[in-house]
């Protein structure tokens, strides 16, 4: 408790992230309205008791859509980060242990992927693969693994000079055992911090891709495509952009604060 009071970022971030997880898990059942049910008589209706966030241009309940959007957004971003982490961690860790030419080659590839600014690589891949949630996850993972590869490689390179690792090697531990038993667990702290920020980043990237029409396709409710659809009605129905916009902002804020908090926690140790 005192730790949380001394680390307000951790507390605030934790609360927001927990709320988000709750929304993703239970929101769709709390919002009893069907997120896909069209009712043109309610088109663009403002917030009311039956529809707390109002209705969109097709009369669909915005609250239900935001809740389903939370499930999609969190589901995609967590799977992308887990995939990126597994791929990047394995590649970076192996490169560091192998050293020499292999390490050089792998890091060149990482440099080249990183030479694509921001989400450009994901945009290009999503454009080629076509819209769809699996393709979206692949595109975001292709963009995301490099950061973890770099981080894990750097950590392993510095860790493997430590005495306990030398000792394990001297006792005859194979490279694979070294990697899984001694190195990767020690890397877990910095990786957890980066992964926390990473989830926030992927939530933003997913929303951006869906906004551009390269991610979740209508009628599937995603915060990004809801924002895109709401832009036409800025003047008459600003609630259409407000609800998903605040949802994205809060989600990213939550993971950023949590990341800050975790970094402070790891730094104190």
């Amino acid at each position: 408790m005192t730790a949380l009071r001394r680390n307000p970022s951790l507390a605030a971030g934790g609360v927001i992230v927990l709320a988000l997880v709750a929304a993703a898990l239970f929101g769709p059942s709390v919002a009893h309205n069907n997120p896909l049910a069209i009712d043109l008589t309610r088109a663009l209706a403002g917030p009311s008791r039956a529809h707390p966030f109002g209705c969109d241009a097709l009369g669909r309940d915005v609250f239900a859509r935001v809740m389903w959007g939370a499930r999609l957004s969190l589901g995609i971003s967590v799977s992308v980060v887990v995939l990126s982490l597994a791929a990047g961690g394995l590649i970076g860790g192996c490169a560091a242990l192998a050293g020499g030419r292999i390490d050089n080659l792998v890091m060149r590839v990482v440099d080249i992927v990183l030479a694509f600014p921001g989400i450009l690589l994901a945009i290009a891949l999503a454009a080629i693969l076509g819209p769809g949630l699996v393709d979206l996850a692949i595109a975001l993972t292709a963009m995301g693994w490099t950061g973890y590869a770099r981080l894990v490689r750097g950590e392993v390179l510095s860790l493997r000079e430590r005495e306990y690792v030398h000792a394990a090697a001297a006792l005859g531990a194979r490279p694979r055992r070294l990697l899984f038993r001694h190195l990767l667990p020690a890397v877990a702290g910095p990786v957890a911090v980066q992964a926390t920020f990473g989830i926030g980043g992927i939530i933003g990237a997913e929303a951006a891709l869906s906004f551009l029409g390269l991610g979740a396709m209508p009628p599937t409710p995603s915060w990004g495509n809801m924002l895109d659809a709401g832009r036409e009605f800025l003047l008459v129905a600003p609630h259409l952009t407000t609800a998903p916009g605040i949802a994205i902002g809060l989600a990213i804020l939550g993971f950023n604060l949590l990341g800050d908090g975790l970094a402070a926690l790891a730094g104190r140790r």
Binding site: I112, A115, P117, L120, A124, L129, G245, G249, L250
Partner: protein, 306 residues
Amino acid sequence: MIWYVLRRLATLVPVALGVVTLTFALIHLVPGDPVVAMLGDTASPADIAGMRHRLGLDRPILVQYVDFLGGLAHGDLGESISYHQPVSRLIAERFPATLELAGAGLLVAMVIAFPLGFIAGAKPGSAGDVGSMGFAIVGISIPHIYLGPLLMIWFSLDLGLLPLTGRGGIPHLVLPAVTLGTALAAVLARMLRQSIIQVRDSDYMRTAVSKGLSPTLALFRHGLRNALTPVVTLLGLELGGLLTGALITEIIFSWPGLGRMLISAISARDYPLVEGAVLTFALTYVFVNMATDVVYALVDPRVSLR
């Protein structure tokens, strides 16, 4: 110094070649047939074969690659399918608008970040610090795709102060630039704060203050320059985000730049144009990064010794 610049230039070649190769591979090797996508599932095999031949896609992949590199060397990126014009000409027409937007976004970011970071770093824990960092955490979290519409509602629709969309004079540039620059401003302000706090603790600052300079004056005269070095590095790293941010901002504000052309080329399945636009963004980023490194070396002579 000159050796450093030359060495840095030499590392540019493999990365640039890698970027070109990866872009080519994306378009030509990823499963999914661009020709079928362009013509639709109902196209006859003869039409598909004809289109494939017209685009040169029926040749061996290596021949296509060498041809692509050769064309690139002459600045020839092929012909756009939807515009029936050379891709390079289309890019030359649209890219200046993107650069204008990115430049304006960068300016906004610095104008916001420097005072905030300075106020926060000069007196950590003060109301100014809390306020600045509060802005920073919100600024990092608010996505372009929401900030843009929000600014449009406030400043164009409600107040009627600024134009809603399109490109024109300075008024047209304000909202897109703020949309684009806010996130970067937030990142820079946080970095500057941290950097100033570190510098304040250094011996030369203590000397300056003990000589009788006021802490603020000492920070201005001696500390600021040193505090800026890590900020410049971060700025270089963040420019990629600025470029893709510009791409998304263009869509929000109907800004006639390369990003908007890329997205419409994607929906039109205009693959030569997609390829050219992706390549332009990526190579620009590579060049800008190199330029940042060189400028950095010029500012801080210690860098070139490393």
